[in-house]
Amino acid sequence: MSTRDSNRIVRVASGQGFWGDWLEAPRRQVEGGPVDYLMLDYLAEVTMSILQKQKARDPHMGYARDFVGAIESVLPAIVERGVRVIANAGGVNPPACAAAIRQLAERHGAAGKMRIGVVTGDDLLPRLDELIAHGHTLANMETGEPLSTVREHVLSANAYIGSVPIVEALAKGANVVITGRSTDTALTMAPLRHEFGWRDDDWDRLAAGIVAGHIIECGAQCSGGNCLIDWQEIPDLANVGYPIVEGSADGSFVIAKHPNTGGRITVPSVTEQLVYEMGDPHSYITPDVVADFTSIQLEQVGDDRVRVFGIKGRPPTDKLKVSVAYQAGYKAIGTLVYAWPDALAKAELADRVLRQRLDRLGLKFDRILTEFLGASATHGPLAGPPHDPPEVQLRFGVRGGDRAAVERFTREIAPLVLNGPPSVTGFAGGRPKVEEIVAYWPALIDKGVVRTSVEVLA
């Protein structure tokens, strides 16, 4: 490590925690203070299947279209100040995403200053039959069932890929890197690894980069958003600052945010995010490294500044996780609101009446679920009986493989307004909508089977 490196700070800013996150955040991150990289995470488990459907309808689609607007909002920072962007916005069609960004750059006369890196190879859908034929069962990690049992319903299949191809794109000079199903954490680890030249087997530093990624991958969820502890005292959420990793060569980093922004970064706020979606803390498995969350040390080193250090890692497994999405039937959810007095009793009677009517119609469902919002919907029996609420919402859901049965159910809600229990309102939304269920099938595959490639469009 050179002296220059030992003092150098690389700033990676989080500008999007999921597709649908605050549109203002990317621009605020590049304008509010110094940043080197802007990291945008767009993909949730089911997003890939939605994008796969869009691509089937139009081969130029299949990526997170919000990304085009995000790039437009930060274009001056990219072309004039050298901020580099890394995003998994490519979805199931990274080349189409890259083409859209290129067009945008041309429209702004900035094409000459944009070098777009495109990472592909995570999409396994075109190879699925070949893989199954070669003995890759892609068994469901929760149930053990082989993928062949739902093969004809599969809509998308993507391997979670790690930091290596992103680092390669950065090394080739890309200033916007677009991936498909990269792990969320790789989007943050890759620029740190690239800047500091961490080796392939530098497990502790790679693990540190992964932990940095985990902390900022959900945007403001580590900087005051959705923060439970002392939530009444968190300042100015309207102006919440998204997090920035200030990374050092030794793998330690500080979580910070720009000055004059709201929210709060403290040891407790960062800890809440660290435990979010946590499995076995000893083994946070990624394609690059297995990080040990029981090694993480946190220290408050200033206002809205938390230092993170001491992180240990070990070699990864020889598998990659695969996210498969498949069509799994239909569902519909209907709601009605019952008012005081005896709001809950009225809603409970409506539930019984509805179940009798569905029974008499002979409709078969895999699942019927009733919830009483205002009484027990989120905490179930733990909440105890409610005390004389002014209203209770009946929320009645059905799920099954027979679309006609689910469709028929949707006609049984409105009649209750006139032929069921009294003091009912809140039906202005109309008949419930039948939704196609796209379910998630987690599986593993041998690492060697997945071949990524990187192209930089100059």
């Binding site: 089911v46 435990v275 946590m278 029981t294 989120t378 105890g384 929320r395 859901g397 998630y440 987690p442």
Partner: protein, 128 residues
């Protein structure tokens, strides 16, 4: 002494398929040993009886003064399959914090838990 978990801990929850995870974090470092001793796996199993269908796993993170629980079979199938309002287990965190821990008086005092905390009705009963 009845100690509401809400008074000594905060929490965040999330999902992985049909499993909800709940991370419970001590509000003060000196209260973490109380969580280790009294927020046991059995206690959590009993607390969520009738709410979840599967087993419970428990992990200790002394570095973060936190425990992590995996509640299996918690989300009606999880993700898009689930018909629940909280299909992604986002508020299992506060459901956990309804728990009342029974901590011996001297231990509670030694850990600096303020006064004789009156039992608050966060949950269906103090022992279950």
């Amino acid at each position: 002494m009845n100690v509401p978990l809400l008074d000594i801990a905060h929490a965040r929850s999330g999902d992985k398929g049909d499993t909800a995870n709940v991370g419970v974090i001590a509000r003060r470092p000196e209260w973490y040993p109380l969580l280790v001793r009294y927020l046991t796996r059995d206690r959590v199993v009993a607390h969520f009886r009738g709410v979840i269908e599967g087993p419970v796993e428990r992990f200790e993170l002394p570095n973060l003064k936190a425990l992590n629980f995996l509640l299996h079979g918690a989300l009606d199938g999880g993700g898009t399959l689930s018909l629940k309002t909280d299909a992604q287990g986002k508020v299992f965190s506060t459901a956990m914090l309804r728990m009342i821990l029974d901590v011996p008086d001297d231990e509670a005092k030694a850990a600096g838990i303020p006064g004789a905390t009156q039992w608050r009705t966060y949950s269906r009963s103090p022992k279950e």
